[in-house]
């Protein structure tokens, strides 16, 4: 399988947790090298969707998944696929990221290698490259051997992205990547996503509609585990088809009883 940006297809994906259905028949596709933003109210299943793509959802006790997720036509849920190996190709930045305890900044960024006792060819270079890409290099270059737990929230957020990038994944999943960032940090991350185009297929969960509008090629609107609408970004933000999408993005919320 090519390591370059694959085409990502989600087909009739269903997921539940503890008996409660979270995703129901979710289907959409992302062209290679494109960015899809997943938007929707809290609890609509966006994070679960992300975790189902890299087969992390099934690790939770009481979690079930069915359906298919195809990368360049190959189903990640087929019995031949090794989930651990999959997660090296499909990187993820979780919501509320953390610094790994007991590691220096340098080792934390390269944790994907350190934990598996492998090393890239030029570790310092790899670390510097990814730290520069997330706009963190200048802030940490003089203290690379200090513990990563000493960084502040915004730095940890960028570190987590760098950590995922260090493994050079062909697919990148991001869950609220700008949550802890100031406008400058956000701009860096969005610039980074733009740079990743064509090399990486990106799936981005964000509550920030403007970010979705700025960065995404296409947008999926998820509500209560269903795909309400999937369209090009420009279309969805100027003239969505579904009135539920229209209501959500313009700020017309129904109060739920």
């Amino acid at each position: 399988m090519s390591r370059r940006a694959p085409k990502l297809e989600v087909k009739e994906l269903c997921a539940s947790y503890g008996g409660r259905i979270i995703l129901k028949d979710v289907s959409f596709h992302v062209d290679r090298g494109e960015i899809v933003a997943v938007i929707g109210p809290t609890g609509s299943g966006k994070s679960t969707l992300l975790r189902a793509v890299n087969r992390m959802h099934e690790l939770s006790a009481g979690a079930t998944v069915s359906g298919r997720v195809l990368l360049d036509g190959a189903d990640v849920y087929s019995p031949d696929t090794d989930p651990t190996e999959l997660r090296r190709r499909v990187g993820i930045v979780l919501e509320r990221p953390i610094a790994l305890p007991g590691l220096s900044i340098q080792r934390d960024v390269l944790a994907g290698y350190a934990l598996t006792r492998t090393l890239p060819r030029a570790p310092e270079e790899v670390a510097e490259t990814v730290l520069r890409r997330v706009g963190l290099w200048e802030e940490v270059k003089d203290r690379l051997s200090t513990p990563s737990v000493g960084l502040d929230d915004g730095q940890i957020q960028r570190l987590a992205i760098a950590r995922a990038l260090a493994l050079r994944p062909s697919v990148l999943l991001l869950d609220e990547p700008s949550q802890s960032l100031d406008p400058s940090g956000t701009a860096h991350v969005e610039e980074l996503l733009n740079e990743l185009r064509s090399q990486t297929t990106v799936m981005l969960v964000t509550a920030n509609l403007q970010q979705a509008a700025r960065v995404a090629d296409s947008v999926v609107f998820l509500e209560q585990g269903h795909v309400v609408e999937h369209a090009r970004a420009a279309k969805i933000f100027t003239n969505p088809e579904d009135p539920r999408t229209e209501d959500f993005i313009t700020g017309r919320f129904r109060t739920t009883a």
Binding site: F237, P243, T245, D247, T250, G251
Partner: protein, 224 residues
């Protein structure tokens, strides 16, 4: 949309914008109406009073532009809201032109009041009434976001063009037949042209309304 914006301040801002546009439209319409009345009544004074309403229309254009920009900057509107604000920005240009054209009509009406009336003047007045109706319908369509009404306005434009053409040709014949009528005839021709242009602007407004409601751009597609 049945529901309102959860943020009521935002809802109010959009309401206010709609309000101001309607007000500006009504004012521009009034200038044209009064000028046409002045033409029919051959009352120069009435014409002058109509013309005096124009500065208000210009002022409203500036006010609405500022309001719309503020909404864009602060609210980053999307989807229907975005189409609404974008339409407003375009429409005020048309409305301001309508105001100016109303002034022009008033000026011609004041001039024509001093001389005996040509028979074609009645036709022009009738054209004027049809155009006023169109304009009124277009503004109504905007206020009620009524696509059907807007499309009805688009239908009428062709008829107006034909009527204007006919009147223009008649006046040419009159000018050839009676050289002393040239002065009055040319003024009537200008006046009729102003009306035809008001109709065009009213059509623009209607096209914006269709875009606003449906998200479909119908410009340049319904002109023959």
């Amino acid at each position: 949309m049945a529901t309102r914006h959860t943020d009521s301040f935002y809802e109010n801002e959009l309401e206010r914008l709609r309000d101001r546009v309607l007000f500006m439209g009504a004012k521009a319409e009034e200038i044209a109406r009064r000028s046409l009345a002045a033409l029919a009544a051959r009352d120069a004074e009435l014409a002058r009073r109509a013309i005096s309403l124009d500065p208000e229309v210009d002022r409203l254009e500036v006010e609405i532009d500022e309001l719309a920009l503020a909404v864009l900057a602060r609210r980053q509107p999307v989807a229907s809201d975005l189409r609404f604000v974008a339409s407003v920005l375009k429409m005020v240009t048309d409305l301001e032109r309508i105001g100016d054209l109303g002034v022009n009509i008033g000026e011609r009406a004041a001039e024509l009041a001093l001389h005996p009336q040509l028979p074609e003047q009645a036709d022009v007045v009738e054209l004027g009434e049809a155009v006023m109706l169109m304009l009124h319908e277009a503004l109504d369509a905007f206020v009620h976001a009524d696509e059907a009404r807007a499309r009805a306005v688009l239908e009428k434009d062709e008829a107006i063009d034909e009527t204007f053409s006919r009147i223009f040709q008649n006046l040419v014949r009159t000018m050839i037949a009676r050289p002393d009528s040239v002065d009055r005839a040319t003024r009537l021709q200008s006046l009729a042209r102003y009306l035809e242009r008001i109709a065009d602007h009213a059509t623009n407004v209607a096209e914006r309304v269709v875009f606003m409601v449906r998200g479909k751009d119908v410009r340049h597609s319904n002109r023959g």
